[in-house]
Symmetry: C2
């Protein structure tokens, strides 16, 4: 029997989550039973989508719902050997027993860092890919606006759009992130919404309107984008991070959807299993050729998962935020 730590939600956040909303619990982990494996967390993902669940289906006193990469430390299943890597959705646990039916074995490409499987080649990547190309129905050369373009999903969206020959405008919340988007990713225009009001800035940056607005923010961003949408424009809605912590500005420009025939459509990363094979092929190629660049903010130490999650809502990440629980 070994001990394990878990990240628990101990009370529902009141607006912005604070460290006291979480606790690190220590529990006993049994040995792997017949047909099971015991796992050690390696990388833990923290994502904006977790915030709404803290108010809803996340149980108190249980591991935070989520996923990550783990290593097999004990196996009582013929298909898994000690040292194998797996992707799991078992929540924020450091050491735990799992049924392999809920795991996906990971054979990392030796030319890519392991972390990309939590990012551009994982849930983040398929969310960007499916959201932009299928829900957003992006056509080559269109006018694209991406909010939180320096975030995990946003930065992949912006780069896919550039690959497709689009004119791409991104918004972000700091000058350092704006510089990365402009200088490293080659966006056509970047708006630092902390430095200037989003409405006039977006108008100036989109002289030919917007065909696809990839929505991660909501609120004032959406109100700024709606009047800029071209006829039959699409707004795939991946997130509305501005609304998650109680600052729920109402959206006032929705009636523009009528005459511009705008389509606003929500989705989650899990909606695209039919795109998975093509996504992996495309994204692996783009990553290896350097046409898609990734950024990560990695916090070392399993116990820092609450800090990482909270940090997302303060914009403390550049690119994908991850927790390293073990090497």
């Amino acid at each position: 029997m070994v001990q394990s730590r878990q990240v628990h939600l101990v009370r529902r956040p009141n607006g912005m989550p604070v460290p006291e909303d979480f606790a690190i619990a220590t529990v006993d982990t049994p040995d792997a039973g017949e047909g099971q494996v015991q796992l050690q967390a390696v990388l833990v993902s923290v994502d904006p989508y977790m915030r709404p669940r803290l108010d809803a289906d996340q149980p108190l006193g249980q591991p935070l719902l989520g996923g990550g990469i783990a290593r097999v430390v004990q196996s009582a299943h013929p298909d898994f050997a000690k040292g194998d890597l797996v992707m799991h959705r078992a929540g924020m646990q450091e050491r735990f027993v799992a049924d392999p039916r809920h795991l996906r074995k990971l054979t990392p490409d030796p030319d890519l860092p392991l972390s990309v499987y939590m990012h551009a080649l994982g849930g983040t990547g398929i969310t960007a890919y499916g959201g932009l190309l299928e829900v957003g129905a992006l056509k080559d050369g269109e006018q694209v606006f991406v909010s939180t373009a320096a975030g995990a999903v946003g930065s992949v969206v912006a780069q896919i759009a550039k690959l497709k020959g689009c004119y791409v405008v991104g918004s972000t919340g700091s000058e350092a992130k704006a510089a990365w988007l402009r200088d490293e990713l080659g966006l056509d225009a970047v708006i630092n919404y902390q430095a200037e009001p989003i409405g006039p800035a977006l108008k100036a940056a989109t002289p030919n309107g917007i065909d696809v607005y990839f929505e991660n923010v909501g609120g004032a961003h959406l109100d700024a984008a709606l009047p800029r949408m071209n006829n039959r424009g699409r707004i795939p809605v991946c997130g509305m991070i501005s609304t998650y912590n109680g600052e729920r500005e109402g959206v006032r420009n929705l009636s523009t959807v009528i005459y511009s025939r705008i389509r606003i459509e929500g989705f989650v990363g899990g909606d695209f299993p039919h795109l998975q094979a093509q996504f992996v092929e495309d994204m692996t190629g783009w990553l290896k050729s350097g046409r898609i660049k990734t950024q990560e903010t990695i916090l070392d130490g399993f116990e820092r998962a609450p800090e990482g999650l909270i940090g997302l809502f303060h914009g403390r990440n550049l690119g994908k935020m991850l927790i390293r629980a073990a090497d």
Copy 2:
């Protein structure tokens, strides 16, 4: 040379339109030139969609943009004879010369009142039909919510949904309208939003959620509907009348679109030429068999068009609002 009256916009409304925003102008009407016809307005349509145009592309000192049914009083075109009826989009004019290329000759069905061509068999009907069946992708037996269900478009939407075996909830703003929806149209539940808050009332009326919300109102109605939407629910947006006169409540529940994969999509009645033939066949049959019932509020006298238009925003119409300019 005869004289004609026109309804002009003389200043942009400040919020709710008032009579002083409009004027009745008298102008000379020339005779029909070679290939032209001279027309006498018979029925003039007033519609909620006209309100946003008063702030935008409606020129001052010109006939209000719109359409109606007119009778040929002079013809210099071989295909048109005196007495023929036509549909036109020449705006609010009493007597005017037109080029037949911009007219559609109307051969009314003798078993139906002429006014249905301004209503269930006209722009109102195709808006309801295309918006519900194509944009809303309605399936038989689904859960449907229609706002302003006693209005011109709403009442047709509600009845088509009932014909398709759906559970239909409607909202309206008076007890008399609620009674008509319940007793005459057979809706499953009716909410008088002037008598009770829309949020709790809609929750109680939709125990199985909502698959299609046909949106005519916006604001608080949309905020009430969003949390009730089922997975992959659709919100065809026909209008947002609550936002047209300056009372722009912000919409706060938009983030529900993400996890429920809701699609919100704007459209206008002119988007469905490909459905026109099927629509006319279906709707003619439904009207003759009494399966679709129509209500009209008709004001007599061309000069009452501003009163009719303003009345729409005070809920003074039951069903379609029309102006009778001549018998």
